[in-house]
């Protein structure tokens, strides 16, 4: 009797396990985007495991570093209050994975503007990501804006960036003009960063 061929699907049963498995994956020379996305999606969000990183700010969304992946990636938790959103931004040639841990986030994809950037940026698509879903983007796919469009519920998301980066470009939707910005962490490893 033939054995059915099965493709292995890893499942992370806790946030700690997810981090460990990510370290293993990124220790290799080659990393599969699909594998990372599937792994992140497999983790069933358990607030008890990440509450210590989920520090909200009244005025804007926060970035809270969870793990720095031995320099290979940054894993962080973003906290979005009601109505909080990001500007349109790129990802500085890195891979970006975004998993919803709580609530919903709307992702709007944009085309790269023309060199001169003299017109309204073109929206490619938009979608609302649900709890535990994991999205992926990189510069060749396009630019995006992420926002919590809920006026009643905060949202929390888990992001993995590889390689890590701390600057990116933000774009003016009306003109396509770009502006380089430096990103900072609101907290690192559960401790509030004082700037």
């Amino acid at each position: 009797m033939e054995q059915p061929v099965q493709t292995e699907t890893w499942k992370a049963r806790s946030l700690e396990e997810l981090v460990r498995m990510l370290h293993q994956i990124f220790a290799e020379d080659k990393v599969s985007v699909d594998e990372v996305q599937a792994l992140m999606e497999s983790y069933e969000s358990n607030p008890e495991e990440w509450l210590q990183y989920a520090k909200f700010d009244q005025y804007r969304y926060t970035r809270n570093l969870v793990d720095n992946g031995n320099g290979k990636f940054n894993l962080m938790i973003l906290c979005w209050g009601e109505g909080h959103g990001s500007s349109i931004h790129d990802h500085t040639d890195s891979h970006c994975f975004m998993k919803i841990l709580q609530g919903n986030l709307k992702e709007t994809l944009f085309e790269w503007p023309e060199k001169k950037g003299n017109g309204e940026m073109i929206k490619k698509s938009e979608r609302v990501l649900r709890e535990n879903q994991c999205a992926y983007i990189n510069d060749s796919i396009g630019l995006h804006r992420v926002e919590n469009i809920s006026h009643t519920e905060p949202a929390v998301s888990l992001h993995l960036y590889s390689p890590p980066f701390d600057t990116c470009n933000t774009f003016d939707q009306r003109t396509g003009h770009k502006h380089k910005v430096t990103m900072t962490f609101y907290s690192q490893f559960g401790e509030r960063t004082v700037c």
Binding site: Q58, Y59, R60, G83, G85, H151, T152, D172
Partner: protein
């Protein structure tokens, strides 16, 4: 609310009844002397009697600091709410509000006001009389213009205006020195340089008033009827630095673009005393945005660095 709540839990400080299908919050609230946080999101509040009568006389009126009524069915801000003098944080996001009552100024301790996701069309200037307001959210509404008085909110740190119907902002917005965040995306903001030369000729009263002011004609309150004394005090200075003129009601509206952070162009509404008073480069055509940049640079450069983060893009 369950009857006897205040008897079982007289020391209650935080009450969360979100997502319970409540249609009204009754008199039990009035007997909770220590309550400082009341969360009642995602219910069916909004009809008459949603809030109990006598709220203003209850201990709650002084003790309540945080009230969250987002995700309900309020079509107007319940007047009873305005009696909560100690309120610091109010959220009515995701309701059915069509406006904001001028009496909102009664909530003098308010620091945080969330009104996103309603059907608000206009902002009363009285909103500016809230001296402690730091965070104002008006996104996802139907607002067409911002009253210039809003610049009096000197404590304002964050202003959320995205997804409205704004075509321009009042230039006074530059006076908000502590504003760190301003979101404007999803508004039909004017991109091209626009000159609106609709100009109603000034009245005789206006012309006389202008002369009195610009020539420094001396007058005492006993010389004029009180109404004219008041009228003279309302003179606005023409923002054109090369003109020393004033205007009262008759002015030219002109949209100027002011660069913030060197990258974003915000159309700001300027009021000038006459069409001749337009920018020195009065032959500006539609495409010469650089001209609008240079003559607004001086006034903008001082204020521009204060606006640290413009979430326009």
């Amino acid at each position: 609310l369950p009857a006897g709540l205040s008897q079982w839990f007289p020391a209650l400080e935080v009450l969360d009844v979100s997502g319970t299908g409540l249609t009204e919050m009754g008199t039990e609230l009035l007997s909770l002397p220590c309550l400082h946080t009341l969360l009642a999101k995602n219910n069916r509040l909004g009809g008459p009697g949603s809030l109990p009568k006598g709220l203003g006389q209850a201990p709650l009126a002084r003790s309540l600091r945080v009230l969250n009524l987002s995700g309900n069915r309020f079509s107007e801000l319940p007047p009873a709410l305005l009696q909560l003098r100690g309120l610091r944080s109010l959220s009515l996001g995701g309701n059915r509000l069509h406006g904001i009552p001028p009496d909102i100024q009664e909530l003098q301790s308010l620091e945080f006001l969330y009104l996103g996701g309603n059907f608000i069309t206009a902002i009363p200037p009285e909103l500016a009389k809230l001296p402690s307001l730091r965070y104002l959210v008006l996104c996802d509404n139907k607002i067409q213009s911002i009253p210039p008085q809003l610049a009096q909110l000197h404590s304002l740190r964050s202003l959320s205006l995205h997804n409205n119907l704004l075509t321009y902002l009042p230039r006074e917005i530059l006076n908000l020195v502590h504003l760190d965040e301003l979101s404007l995306r999803g508004n039909p903001l004017v991109v091209r340089f626009v000159r609106d030369l609709t100009y109603n000729p000034p009245s005789l009263q206006e012309l006389a008033g202008r002369t009195v002011k610009t020539r420094n004609v001396p007058y005492a309150p006993s010389d004029l009827p009180e109404s004219l004394v008041r009228y003279l005090s309302l003179a606005s200075n023409c923002p054109n630095p090369k003109c020393g003129g004033v205007y009262f009601d008759s002015c030219v509206r002109q949209i100027k673009f002011v660069d913030f952070c060197g990258k974003y162009r915000l159309p700001l509404m300027h009021y000038l005393c006459s069409p001749e008073c337009s920018s020195p480069f009065s032959s500006a055509s539609q495409s010469s945005t650089s001209q609008s940049e240079s003559d607004s640079e001086d006034e903008a450069s001082v204020a521009a660095h204060r606006m640290q983060k413009v979430l326009l893009g």
